[in-house]
């Protein structure tokens, strides 16, 4: 009888350990970045609409297939207004603002904290007017 009780206890302990491990793994996995590819071709982003969950890191892999440089700047209206008149020739310091040289690939990881939508735009002269605009929709 005591042996049976010990077996049940051991099994229960093992089950809890396994379940805990699975749960911890699930939590860890939920914090792994989601990878999203963006291609730039003929001065247009593809895709132009992206849905991402709030609070989860998103790694954007941005491929510039054009023979000219481009920018990928994501943010709210105030951010874009600032960049429309900005003079920074190259963006490298913030993950939400990257320059992708002609024919290269850049990776950047961004976590969107709040639900809503933000735009990503290339602010090199004439590029926004030409249509280099996309939208990130942040959901729960």
């Amino acid at each position: 009888m005591p042996g049976r009780r010990r077996s049940i206890g051991l099994g229960l302990g093992l089950s809890i350990a396994v379940l805990s491990g699975l749960a911890a793994n699930a939590v860890a996995r939920s914090q792994d970045p989601i990878e999203i590819s963006i291609t730039i071709h003929y001065s247009h982003f593809e895709p132009t609409l992206i849905r991402v969950p709030a609070g989860r890191p998103i790694t954007f892999v941005i491929t510039n297939s054009d023979p000219i440089d481009h920018e990928w700047i994501v943010g709210d209206a105030a951010t874009h207004e600032r960049h429309r008149t900005g003079t920074e020739p190259v963006h490298d310091a913030r993950p939400t603002e990257v320059t992708i040289a002609a024919g290269t690939v850049r990776r950047t990881t961004v976590t969107f904290a709040t639900v809503g939508s933000e735009q990503y735009i290339c602010h090199l002269p004439g590029h926004e007017a030409y249509g280099m605009v996309g939208t990130v929709v942040v959901t729960q």
Partner: protein, 353 residues
């Protein structure tokens, strides 16, 4: 003498550049423009594409209209030029005068207003650094970046459009500061004469829209001087953004005047003068002007940018001898069938007897 002649054509010249004076920015003619801050908008530009003895003579002008710093342009070419030299002093102006004779009463008013590609060749003409480049879109983009120029956002598509047919481009870097130091005045033009041996002349039109948004206007005058009346593709019908303004035998006086200008001794004793006016929106100009001056009347859809190289199988001309030969073969075949039918073995005869 040259000064006097230039004065004679001054009115035509003023009509050509009048629009350029409206903007206090450097303006280069004929070719998409690139600069540190993107494209400089073109107003009206004038070009001569002459074709004689298998050689295209492309004469255009680069206009100094003020400003400072360096500016540039890219012009696609149908082949590798044998020479890039300073153009004649009055060729373009004389052509304008030929097709747009000035109204005498307008003369005073107009006068008042006028005021990491492979580098195949490099030439300096006045304040212009001209480089003939060989390469695809990526090469041209890299070259522009290396030389401090930024291509406008439509450049990738436009460069691909041209590189599919000819990977030869003329890059013109214009140093406005050098122009000022040379004493060049507002409106002073630097004509450039490019000599290109080619079997298929064409005039780049789409490049004129480089850096412009779809609804923006593009205006230019293209003069063609050919041995006979050319067939053009697309046909200038006005609705497609290009219009046939003049098509006639070139006058003896025009040819004589042109021939007397610098580098223009190639002008034949008789020729056909065509003027095509470009009056389009940027979105309309998705093509170039293909020219067939051979008399066959079949300008190339590929040269016009309406088809990709290799996508068209040229139609074979009708040949009577081949047709008769085909008929003869068909007749022999029919006779053979009849004979075989007559000599058919009757039913019941063993096979292979």
């Amino acid at each position: 003498m040259r000064r006097r002649r230039l004065g004679r054509f001054g009115l035509g010249f003023s009509t050509a550049i009048i629009a350029c004076f409206l903007a206090a920015t450097p303006i280069l003619a004929c070719g998409g423009l690139i600069g540190p801050n993107g494209a400089v908008n073109l107003l009206r530009t004038t070009t001569l594409a002459g074709y004689h003895d298998g050689v295209e003579h492309y004469v255009t002008a680069f206009q100094f209209a003020g400003g400072g710093g360096a500016f540039g342009s890219i012009t696609p070419l149908p082949g590798i030029p044998t020479s890039v030299v300073k153009g004649g002093d009055w060729t373009l102006q004389r052509l304008i005068r030929e097709t747009n004779p000035p109204a005498p009463q307008a003369e005073d008013a107009l006068r008042a207003v006028a005021g990491s590609a492979v580098e195949l060749m490099s030439v300096k003409i006045d304040a212009l650094d001209l480089t003939v480049l060989k390469g695809g879109a990526a090469d041209i983009g890299a070259w522009a970046k290396d030389h401090g120029f930024r291509l406008p956002p439509d450049a990738p598509e436009v460069l691909d459009f041209y590189a599919a047919r000819s990977q030869i481009f003329l890059a013109a870097a214009f140093d406005a500061d050098a122009a000022k130091n040379r004493g060049q005045q507002l409106g002073d033009g630097t004509p450039v004469h490019i000599t290109i041996p080619t079997a298929n002349p064409w005039v780049p039109l789409r490049i004129l829209a480089l850096g412009k948004l779809g609804g923006e206007p593009v205006q230019a005058d293209v003069y063609l001087l050919t041995d006979r009346a050319p067939a053009l593709l697309p046909v200038p019908n006005g609705a497609n953004g290009i219009r046939l303004d003049h098509s006639a035998d070139a006058s003896a006086s025009l040819l004589s005047d042109l021939r007397s200008d610098r580098g223009m001794d190639w002008v034949p004793s008789s020729a056909w003068l065509t003027k095509v006016a470009v009056d389009a929106t940027a979105a309309q100009l998705g093509f170039d002007l293909a020219i067939d001056a051979t008399g066959v009347g079949r300008p190339s859809a590929v040269d016009a940018g309406l088809a990709l190289p290799g996508s068209i199988t040229p139609a074979q001309p009708f040949e009577l001898s081949r047709f008769l030969l085909a008929l003869a073969f068909a007749g022999v075949g029919m006779v053979g069938i009849v004979l075989i039918g007559r000599s058919r073995p009757s039913a019941g005869r063993p096979i292979g007897w």
